[in-house]
Symmetry: C2
Subunit: 314 residues, 2 copies
Amino acid sequence: MRHSTFKALSSLSAVRNLANFVQIVEVGPRDGLQNEKTIVPTSVKLKLIEMLSDCGLSKIEVTSFVSPKWIPQMSDQKEVMQGITNKPGISYSVLTPNLKGLEGALASGANEVAIFAAASETFSEKNINATIDKSLDKFRDVCKHASTNNIQIRGYVSCVLGCPYEGHILPKAVIKVSEQLLSMGCYEVSLGDTIGIGTPGSVDTLLREITQFIPADKLAMHCHDTYGQALANIMVAIMYGIRTLDSSVAGLGGCPYAKGASGNVSTEDLVYMLHGSGYETGVNLKKLIEAGNYISEFLQRQNGSKVSKANSKL
Amino acid sequence: MRHSTFKALSSLSAVRNLANFVQIVEVGPRDGLQNEKTIVPTSVKLKLIEMLSDCGLSKIEVTSFVSPKWIPQMSDQKEVMQGITNKPGISYSVLTPNLKGLEGALASGANEVAIFAAASETFSEKNINATIDKSLDKFRDVCKHASTNNIQIRGYVSCVLGCPYEGHILPKAVIKVSEQLLSMGCYEVSLGDTIGIGTPGSVDTLLREITQFIPADKLAMHCHDTYGQALANIMVAIMYGIRTLDSSVAGLGGCPYAKGASGNVSTEDLVYMLHGSGYETGVNLKKLIEAGNYISEFLQRQNGSKVSKANSKL
């Protein structure tokens, strides 16, 4: 037993030293605010995006080009895009569920878009009103059009570790959707534990299988902290060589209909873990905490970052 | 890079399969309640201990034989010990800072005691009013007397990853105190990240050094979740072969003087992680959640377990 343990750890240290830059994708303004009850005014969103831009974050997902009928929280997408002071070196990406969304994003000057597929058939049908196959057909058109316009496309796969309707999701379902997203032109696929149900063990199982087909540098992890497992799960992803991680300032998000439900893993706690473990992110943690406090105060919401809470009492 | 990553993970899987029982030491009634503002009536403590005993937990730290002048929360230690319905197979341990405490514990029928040293000189002086060396002298007497009475002794070392006064603590300080506790008769040393400041990287550094001198089966990890790092840190401990973990139901504890400060890692979230990752604990998670809800409701305190919160909305 001890022999195996030592082997694991010396390898862990090796991984740490070999590739120590981690790319954080800040999804708070989109995935976070989209799932908050309060509809946040454009000016507050712009202030938040500006604060996040000042932290050293280089990828920020800022809004979603979806129908306001479905997601009223994102109905000011054009105003948000117009209001952003683009900083050099920062990609401000947007979610585009279809061609119409992509056209809106292009007209607003977006330089990166994201599409959102599911590994669960039922979730796909309930969430985006299409079977997985039909959704992929639609995304293929989006990708073609984006590619013609030299726009980078990121792919999301939701429910990779479990689905609220179907329960367990097989790794092969995740692999199939991920491969298709990559083949249609996505530069990377972000694996979403949408309901935060995964554990280090289930992440291990998924990544052991998927990395046999897709290299780790084409994958990102997108963890929600619903069951408190996000950082532990992310450590496993790092051990598999994944170096792109999605997170949300102040842990914004969660289910708007459930009191106390956790949202995305908080960027502050993630950055604290990474910096403390010898990884670089380029992010200024102090400024990030200020951004998280700003939006939490506006929302009159408990800050979802434990690092922020710990700092507030220092 | 990918080669190293794969090596790490195949070893991780090997560790998982080889030694899959994890001993949980439930410290909620002692370390948890001792750090809550509210002084909990004996009857509530006894009900909590009974509920915890019904969960399948086999080690529960129930009280502390310290002066009520210092820790009024534990002033009913005799009544607690008298009131417990001992269940076979469960060790109900108590903290004993000195010979007087040990005598009280013996008179109350305790079958296991714990002593509490620090890896930080300043913390030792401020917390237990003695230099590390003087505290160890005192503990040596406690150990001798306990051994004469066939009482098992567990050792704690606090501040192993950082100290509120001294900041960084060197692994060699932790090793020195741990070795002395073992040599005076402790069957195990629990390494406490008292202020929850550690990260997977700093846990890795500490354990890589300490396991060169002390085998992993003589070590336990005691993590606080102040910075949200506890479960990720524990995953690293597991990779080092450590199979004894301290935790607190509902994440009880925290600093009584700081609003929103996190306590011990919650037993519910730990058990969820372990079971989901293929480890056995013998604990019934559903019953554990009930115990955590019971004490949280009594304390009118937000339940510190995310698993409990996620379950409450199902």
